[in-house]
């Protein structure tokens, strides 16, 4: 019997089958991306938008501006990167730890476990627009329940302003942790269930304490899952948009992150060239992270 793929006619067939998908990808992904990269070298703004074919080619001028902290746009772009880094540095580890803790609890047998497993997913499955709008109310200075509780407990003397100024980022971080940890929990729980119970049994016979079991069995065996989870979170972190846009409005001021700032620069202020340059930088960052994550995942499959 001959293998199916060895027939030359069948081989070309394969290409015909994937052609529609390739065309679609070209149309909706590749061409717009290349186009965006091209625009990032143009001085395409309010004055040139209707004659965009004649927009002057300015080489790396847009890139120079977005990385110069003395120029208004550069200052804000650099700050937006700083903001998103801080945001990720706090939300990702806390989300991970919370997820891990709950996953460990849910991995035990108890009555109503399935129900609880379903319930904890609620924040994750709530649409962003709904969840963050609710959080926006929760953080309102005058009517929000955060201030109500803080005042009630006597922790503060007068209402705090959450959605403006330095506290705005904290508000987004808190809301995002709430929204993000169930996903971590779900993935880690799946990882936990893949661990062979016999390992624990053997450990117990050898007299290992619960903590030792966690340290030497659970945590190491969760490594592949954890790596994937962290990389995913890192990638998502860099294009964080909904939480900032919904909680803080179209102009989050000093709490801009790259995505919200790009939207504002390109489409509100009509600086398409600058906006594209920033988008390209963001894309490169995300591409690097994705490449790293593929590497890690490949590495982890050998480990297992």
């Amino acid at each position: 019997m001959r293998k199916i793929g060895s027939k030359p006619r069948k081989k070309t067939m394969v290409f015909w089958f994937i052609l529609p998908a390739v065309l679609c990808m070209l149309l909706v992904h590749v061409i717009p991306i290349l186009w965006g990269i091209y625009i990032s070298f143009l001085e395409l703004d309010l004055y040139t938008i209707t004659r965009w074919t004649q927009a002057p080619f300015v080489w790396l001028e847009n890139y120079r501006q977005i990385f110069t902290s003395k120029v208004a746009v550069g200052e804000r772009f650099l700050r937006s990167i700083y903001t998103v880094l801080i945001y990720g540095l706090v939300t990702i580890p806390i989300g991970y730890l919370l997820g891990l803790l709950v996953a460990l609890l849910l991995n035990r047998e108890f009555l109503g476990r399935t129900l609880v497993r379903g319930l904890i997913l609620l924040p994750y499955i709530t649409p962003d627009s709904v969840a963050y709008n609710v959080w926006r109310f929760i953080f309102q200075a005058r009517i929000g329940i955060v201030n109500k509780y803080l005042l009630g407990l006597g922790l503060i003397q007068e209402p705090l302003i959450w959605l403006v100024g330095d506290r705005a980022l904290y508000a987004v971080i808190i809301a995002s942790i709430w929204k993000g940890w169930p996903f971590a929990c779900l993935i880690l729980l799946a990882g936990l269930q893949g661990i062979d119970p016999q390992l624990y049994e053997a450990a117990r016979i050898d007299g290992a304490t619960g903590w030792q079991q966690f340290l030497h069995i659970t945590f190491p065996l969760l490594k592949p899952v954890s790596k994937t989870l962290l990389m995913l979170n890192l990638i998502w972190n860099f294009h964080a948009f909904n939480q900032f846009y919904i909680l803080l409005g179209a102009d989050p001021g000093r709490a801009h992150v790259p995505s919200t700032f790009i939207l504002q620069e390109a489409f509100k202020n009509l600086h398409y060239g600058l906006g594209s340059a920033m988008a390209v930088v963001l894309m490169i960052v995300i591409l690097i992270l994705t490449a790293v994550s593929f590497r890690l995942r490949r590495g982890s499959s050998y480990e297992g």
Partner: protein
């Protein structure tokens, strides 16, 4: 067999081409009109569609009305510039008009065709111009005045303020009676129109936003600093609630409309809000209190403009003229939008001499429009951002004597940077 297929297909294509070309020949002119949500949908859409039907009966031109939200409008219109499609005639905010003209998306108009520039309120006509040419026709106007809660004023035993100093004194009395933050509601860092509210104070202090030649920022001089300090002091002295710092305009309006706060700078469109949300509110409207250098207010509103790439410009002009007819303007402003007409003649209608409208009409007469610049959007953004910084500094507890000057200077630097890009 194959040949039959081919001939059949060819025939079909020919037929289709013929049909479409025939359709274009015989079809009446259709124009697309974009307007924003200027009035509640239940009344706005039927009214415009009704008028469009009337217009079609008179001229044979079909108007395809599409209502777009203010949030999407900017993007939809700029997309239309690039693609040359979407709408033939559309509504633009007064501050957008020069920017769109600079972008080259709007058709230059001869205002004489629409009754000449003297037929319109001065500031509104100015907003349609860019580098001395006209790119729109004023449709309706808005200006801001001081709304006050009559019951609260009576209880506190005060009269509506006529000057900035009086406003502070009145506020102190009201706060004594009703508690901290009850005197006035202000829009804070989340307000897209923070600048509109502040510029009223700036102008009344004798300041101006830019130098006369529109080359440099001027709002960071002494008049600007004192105007900004006065504004922040309303919060610092407890006349306005600290929460105002994070308000957007609708939130500030709501605080007044709900009867929690005694004063608010608002526009005529808010009257519809009051009628809907709290019809029992006993309120009055007075001209914005005068500053050390006299009275001032902000002039805004919307114009009608024609897409440069439109293929039906004459039809679009006819539609604009139709909308601007006195009876249509009276209906549109009185019954639907609660805005003010931008046409001098329409003000002859007795309605605008009644009640609060007289106040708005008087205010509009001396209201000022912003400079018409292509980079205005950048300027507004820069100023907004740094102003928000002042309020944020106050919220964060880092506000001191120099804060205002510091942020105003920073805003001025950014504005100067933007002005250099003006072509």
């Amino acid at each position: 067999m194959k040949k039959m297929w081919r001939t059949g297909l060819l025939g079909l294509i020919c037929l289709l081409v013929l049909m479409t070309s025939m359709a274009t020949i015989s079809a009446p002119v259709t124009i697309t009109f974009w307007a924003m949500t200027n009035a509640p949908d239940e009344v706005h859409i039927p009214w415009v569609e009704g008028k469009a039907a009337e217009f079609e009966r008179q001229t044979g031109i079909k108007v395809n009305f599409e209502q777009i939200g203010w949030d999407d409008a900017w993007q939809k219109i700029t997309t239309a510039f690039v693609t040359g499609e979407g709408a033939d005639v559309f509504q633009v905010g007064t501050t957008w008009n020069p920017q769109f003209a600079a972008a080259g998306g709007l058709e230059e108009l001869n205002i004489a065709e629409f009754g000449g520039k003297d037929a319109f309120m001065k500031a509104n006509f100015e907003s349609t111009t860019y580098k001395g040419k006209c790119y729109g026709v004023p449709w309706f106007a808005e200006t801001r005045a001081l709304f006050y809660n009559v019951d609260m004023f009576n209880k506190a035993g005060v009269q509506p303020p006529k000057t900035h100093d009086e406003l502070l004194k009145v506020s102190a009395k009201i706060v004594e009676t009703f508690g901290e933050g009850s005197a006035i509601a202000l829009a804070g860092t989340n307000a897209w129109d923070l600048l509109h509210n502040w510029s009223i104070i700036l102008w009344a202090n004798g300041g101006q936003l830019l130098t006369n030649d529109n080359k440099y920022a001027m709002f960071n001089n002494e008049a600007g600093v004192s105007a900004m300090k006065w504004y922040v002091d309303l919060v610092r002295k407890g006349y306005a609630s600290k929460a105002c710092a994070e308000y957007n305009q609708p939130q500030a309006d709501a605080a007044f409309v709900n009867g929690n706060v005694a004063m608010c700078y608002m526009g005529p469109w808010n009257i519809a809000n009051i009628e809907l949300e709290n019809p029992s509110l006993n309120y009055g409207v007075v001209e914005p209190p005068a500053g050390p250098k006299g009275k001032a207010s902000f002039s805004g509103g919307s114009n009608l403009a024609i897409l440069k790439a439109s293929r039906n410009k004459e039809a679009a002009k006819a539609w604009i003229k139709f909308l601007l007819k006195t009876e249509n303007m009276v209906e549109y402003t009185r019954d639907l939008t609660h805005m003010l007409p931008a046409q001098v003649e329409v003000f002859a209608d007795p309605y605008y001499d009644s009640g609060v409208w007289k106040t708005f009409k008087t205010t509009l007469e001396y209201a000022t429009a912003y400079p018409t610049l292509g980079v205005w959007g950048d300027i507004e953004n820069a100023v907004q951002q740094e102003f928000a910084g002042v309020l944020a500094a106050y919220v964060n507890g880092t506000y001191d004597e120099n804060t205002v000057k510091l942020y105003l200077n920073r805003a001025a630097d950014k504005v100067n940077e933007a002005l250099k890009r003006e072509k």
